[in-house]
Amino acid sequence: MNELVFFINNVVIAGSVTGSIYAIGAIGVTLVFSIMRFAHFAHADMMTFGAFMVLLLTLAFPGVGAVVGLPTPVVMLPLAMVLTALLAVGIDKAFYKPLRAHGVKPIVLVIGSLGVTLMLQGLIRLFAGTSAQSLYIGERKEIYRLDLPFELATRPVIVTEPQIILFILTITAVVSLHLFLNRSRLGKAMRAMSDNPDLARASGINTNTIVAVTWVIAGGLAAVAGTLLSLDVTFKPDLSFFLLLPIFAAAIVGGVGHPYGAIAGGFVVGFAETLAVFNWTVLLRPVQHHFPEWLELPRNLAFVGTEYKIVVPFFILVAILVWRPTGIFKGKVI
């Protein structure tokens, strides 16, 4: 039974944590892709920027959390979302809009977004340094140990406070995005524009507003994803390219331009990563005596070592591009 608990701790919980972070990141990427038709490479650094804003605000007002009864970084998150959304709109005005006005091909916008990602990286690392920092300053990460009601399970299932916050925030973000896209006027206009920009413009939709709204949502969600990642582990300013690949893989797996697909894709990629680095010997050891004599279990039976984790999203990306380039939910733009 303890092996099963180990499995739950290391795969089910860890997988849903990474899955939700990738999902929130991938929603932003996929929205930008469906409205502006280019892969936005600066998204991972926008996530880092959001987390950095949270870190700065937490350093500035460390006592706020105790008043509300939540960790300070979570209280500061809405403010950081606003700041990141402003940054995203500003970046669009300064760098992408002139390029769009020139009528360049999408790939030029991609290169432009790589330039932006380098600028953000440089600025963040100039001010934050390159080492990892914890967002919990002067507070303690609460750890909940849930004992299972079985005789054989002596080890508890472990969930930390940031993980619970993460699940709640993910569900909130997904539900509110769903309501926004399906019920509100702006959301419907956004969907119209992602379907057919010319038709949307002809029917009187202000495309500039839609673009700005898309950036606000993408920036806000990027701040959420970055903060959740930094809460779960630590704030690392140099993650960007390692985050970018799983997020793009998630967006493409779900079908580009498909927000619900991006959520599914995020969980697919997250669980694939944790399943691939999980050491399966742990689960097989209890049933080893059923195996024949000559079959000896190796000590490490993980598909890839932790250091090769980045291979997993790449493999998924390649597989989906080979077999189903439109993604599992049939994206609109390929």
């Binding site: 490479f41 290169i111 330039g115 932006v116 980045i310 790449f314 990306l317």
Partner: protein, 435 residues
């Protein structure tokens, strides 16, 4: 590629005097002479050799981006593969490995690997023998997973043994240029794999996939201690020319420079011929208007694959030359900034699609890049001095590593500005117009 498509220049029948080229290269020459005067001959020659290696990389990228409009965001990976191959071929033979039974063990595992790959390929063909397609897929997947785990655990055993007993497998003791050639071939085959998957799809996907493969190659080289010694680094790598111990720094480096310059001259000549040949016209036709090129009966995906692989081969060769010259193989030294984005800036600043412009961009940007390191540190120290004096600010300890991040910002700014204001670069591609 809309943006680099130039506004139609006046069709000229007479050959105009290349004023712009002469001025730019004259300025470059003055800059190089200035560096020689200030920094001394040995340092400046080193700079020129490195710039020439970067020029090979830039030529590789200019045929991908400039000729064909494909964006490769993972130059670093191909450079690292070239460097690895140069290391593997040129480093002296390690008797602690070859003298034992370990090579046989490793060979056995590789044979098992080949055998299992063949077995899995065979399983995917099972439907020819009347096995239902769904069942075939299940069999193939299960077989692949099981065999993968078996081979992987064998490989882990052998490589762990190699690492503990022999350190790493060492090199082959061959001349460095063999490593460069094989490095080009390896980079080309990886490029073929990536290009085969991505080139028929949206151009963004190629950027994502190359970015990913570059990080994977780096992770592999960094963590395969049995093959590359990982973070312990391998040095020295032998040079294809007599080393500094025989000739002194300046002369040895000048000799190396002559090798890379000859390499560039050959590549440049071949590319020049290819560009003006029917093949080059076809590539540009595909870049500028895919649909009409397809309507003319051109096999678009195949031509794209050709040019992508060609660019990757050049990057592999350039990476090999760079690693041999540094005489050090350090997988952690491969950074996206130094080996991907710097090359990108060279190409888009110099002029994508214009070989001469790319050469100019490579040398000019590399000089600026090298000189910017002391400049960034100097500016940061000034800022600290002012900050301490005026505001009583306590500077953090890791200031030097942070100051270098300013260069990341500048490279990013440069990319966005060039794309916005000079999308054709300093020496634009010359388009012939026939009225």
């Amino acid at each position: 590629m809309n943006s680099p498509a130039p506004s139609p220049a006046k069709p000229t029948t007479t050959r105009r005097f290349p004023v712009r080229e002469v001025i730019l290269f004259g300025a470059l020459l003055v800059a190089i002479l200035g560096v020689y005067a200030v920094m001394g001959a040995a340092y400046s020659t080193r700079m020129l050799v490195e710039a020439s290696c970067y020029a090979i990389l830039a030529l590789g990228l200019t045929i991908q981006w400039g000729y064909a409009g494909q964006f490769n965001a993972g130059v670093m990976g191909f450079v690292a593969i070239g460097g690895f191959s140069a290391m593997l071929f040129s480093v002296p033979v390690n008797d602690a490995f070859w003298g034992t039974e370990l090579p046989g063990e490793l060979g056995r595992v590789l044979l098992y690997l080949i055998g299992s790959v063949l077995l899995v390929i065979g399983a995917t063909r099972l439907h020819r023998f009347g096995v239902p397609k769904k069942l075939r897929t299940v069999i193939a997947v299960v077989l692949a997973v099981v065999l993968y785990l078996v081979v992987l655990s064998m490989l882990r055993g052998v490589t762990g043994e190699i690492q503990s007993r022999a350190g790493f497998i060492g090199g082959l003791g061959l001349p460095a240029w063999t490593g460069w050639i094989v490095g080009g071939a390896l980079a080309g085959s990886i490029g073929y794999f990536i290009g085969h998957i991505c080139l028929g799809l949206r151009s963004d996907y190629l950027a994502i996939a190359t970015l990913g493969i570059a990080e994977i190659i780096k992770a592999f080289l960094k963590n395969s201690d049995w093959l590359t010694r990982g973070t312990a680094t391998v040095s020295p790598l032998p040079w294809p020319t007599p080393g500094p111990s025989e000739l002194g720094f300046t002369l040895a480096r000048a000799l190396y420079l002559s090798v890379t310059a000859a390499l560039i001259a050959v590549i440049f000549f071949l590319l020049h011929r290819a560009y003006h040949a029917p093949w080059g016209r076809m590539i540009r036709a595909i870049r500028d208007n895919e649909v009409s090129a397809a309507a003319m009966g051109k096999d678009i995906n195949r031509r794209r694959l050709e040019i992508f692989v060609l660019g990757c081969i050049l990057m592999g060769i350039g990476g090999g030359a760079l690693a041999s010259f540094n005489s050090l193989f350090d997988p952690q030294g491969y950074l996206p900034l130094n080996h991907t984005f710097l090359v990108l800036v060279m190409v888009i600043l110099g002029g994508p699609g214009n070989n001469l412009g790319t050469l100019f961009g490579a040398v000019a940007v590399y000089i600026i890049w090298l000189m910017s390191e002391p400049l960034a540190l100097f500016l940061m120290n000034m800022a600290v001095y002012v900050g301490e004096g005026v505001f009583g600010w306590e500077p953090p300890g890791n200031l030097d590593s942070r100051a270098l991040q300013a260069r990341v910002f500048v490279i990013g700014l440069l990319i966005t500005l060039v794309l916005r204001f000079a999308p054709q670069g300093l020496l634009p591609e010359k388009i012939k117009h026939h009225d």
